[in-house]
Amino acid sequence: MKIITFRQLRHRWGLYLLILPALAFICTFSYFPAASGVYHSVFRWDGDEMEEYIGLENFTRAFTDEVLLAGFGLILILILTNLVKMVPSIATAVAIHRMTGERWRYLYRVLFVIPMIIPGMVWLLLWKFLYDPTFGPLNRVLSATGLMRVLQTLGEWVGTDAFATGAPAWLGHPDLVLWAYIFWGFPWVGVVSVLLYLAGLGNIDQSVYDAAEIDGCGWFRKFWNIELPLIMTQVRLNLILMIIGTLNGWGLIFILFTDTGGPNGKLMVPGLYMFRKAFTDGEAGYACAIGLLLFFLILALTWVNNRYVRVSK
């Protein structure tokens, strides 16, 4: 690494030229739209010509907008469930790592890459089919095993008519859609995360395991005291990406339900709400204000994450 002072800059200004193209791109396609978004967040703007300055009205409106607040509540639930969903990937990586035989470990790594070629849409269609009320395997299995009866009694007890017909529409009923969405993608093993965790685990020295063996550590203590600290970098990276992804994520919901947010708008996450406001309702200024709030929320969460989730080497 070389330190270049102001004085040397006269001969080395060329270095800036190497950054310039990348910088030009982000200025045009990221910072300019972002600045325009900040600017328009204090306007009533339909995304086209009509502009009217309204001060902070968009923001005060956001804080009392029940749909938006419900959306943030939804995000909180999703972040908590996504936290649990990180466990299977870690468990898979640890299981592969602890296997004897380098060949097996390599083979499994290869096998976990292959599913990346499956078009995202195929995943989506199969899960949608799984939840289908009439043809879907889920309802068929529940009926065949008699579990549907249990669910019906449970449903009456809780006070929902979701199971009344005996063929619940998992993605169509307001009481069920959140559960169906959370369960979506079971068992939630992300191939890239598995490979990332394996990379971190590869840094563990054999002597550490030997010492643990002598101390009589069980499998869980080995995980907690040796393996988890060593993959903390990757866990933290995945955690940040997960939180950002959850706050930004609305693609799947949009593809499933368009911009209605599902039955009774039960899955109207802030991202989707923003899209709806901008492109359907013609309230682009308000959408920009919501975007700004989301950005600060992500920034705050990332800061908390960096601060409190420590990496011990």
């Binding site: 800036y16 045009t28 739209p33 070629i117 269609l125 990332l196």
Partner: protein, 285 residues
């Protein structure tokens, strides 16, 4: 990784074997879930709708290979477009990222931290927040309904992640190599060509794969930007297919199978780099 862990859990006892079996069982069951959609895609692609609703899980006797003809007719035309829209941004973003991350990794000049933060903070920016202003910008640039819009925004989006990852890798490249190149009078561009590229092949291939897949599955912006149906890239065409009122499962899944062929070819060639890139180097947070 090799010597470090081999021998771990090497107890020949029954308990050790049991533990080994449990691990394999667990990983295999996860793999079954991961591979299941792949199996179903090929399985359903050879069925008629009636066969699908009667027996979706197992292959049925007459294989309806003609589904692939229908599938090809639906999306074959969009393959060249989609290849263009995946390849050009991938290459563009990688070139820009290599140039910029070389400077960030090797030099500290005035404004270094400011410039670096300017890139990194974009990783936090919620994509949708920018969508409306971006759309307006593209409209003002007269780029609506053009591929140029998708290529330019694709480059802008992918390069940030590339720079973030590449900087770490270039910093880990042995300093002596750069010094030797400098001794021979090589400027930054020749150092990139002769040192950075050869030394970081795996991670470059990995990043290329990731952005190619991203471009291949790119869905949202094309849906907003491209107006003429016959110019839509594949992901949107496939979505339209699934959104049809009466789904023809066989031809639809054939279309998806055809859509994954380029990715299969890509992975055959880059698999080894890909695994090495993600595993050995370790992406550092």
């Amino acid at each position: 990784m090799t010597a470090a862990v081999t021998g771990y859990m090497h107890s020949k006892s029954l308990r050790g074997k049991m533990a080994e079996a449990v691990k394999h069982g667990f990983v295999l069951s996860m793999l079954v879930f991961a591979f299941f959609p792949l199996y179903m895609m090929f399985n359903i692609s050879a069925k008629t709708n009636r066969e699908f609703y009667r027996q979706p899980w197992l292959p049925t006797a007459p294989m309806h290979v003609e589904n692939y003809v229908t599938g090809w007719e639906t999306i074959g035309a969009s393959i060249p477009n989609t290849l263009y829209l995946s390849l050009v941004p991938t290459v563009g973003a990688l070139v820009l990222a290599v140039l910029a991350s070389y400077v960030f990794a090797r030099y500290r000049m005035p404004g270094h931290n400011l410039l670096w933060s300017a890139f990194i903070i974009l990783m936090l920016m919620p994509g949708v927040a920018n969508l409306m202003p971006l759309f307006t910008l593209l409209r003002n640039m007269n780029l609506l309904n053009t591929y140029t819009a998708l290529v330019l925004t694709g480059i802008a989006g992918a390069q940030v992640f590339n720079i973030f990852i590449l900087r770490n890798y270039i910093e880990d490249t042995p300093e002596e190599l750069f010094e030797a190149a400098e001794m021979d009078g090589a400027g930054p561009l020749r150092q990139i060509w002769h040192v950075v590229l050869p030394m970081n092949g795996s991670i470059l291939a990995t990043l290329a794969c990731l952005s190619f897949i991203g471009g291949w599955n790119n869905f949202l912006l094309p849906l907003l930007v491209i107006r003429e149906p016959d110019r839509l890239p594949m992901a949107v065409a496939l979505y339209r297919l699934a959104d049809a009122y009466v789904k023809e499962w066989g031809p639809m899944m054939s279309a998806y199978a055809i859509a994954s062929v380029p990715l299969i070819i890509l992975f055959i060639f880059t698999m080894r780099f890909f695994i090495r890139g993600v595993t050995a180097g370790a992406l550092k947070g």
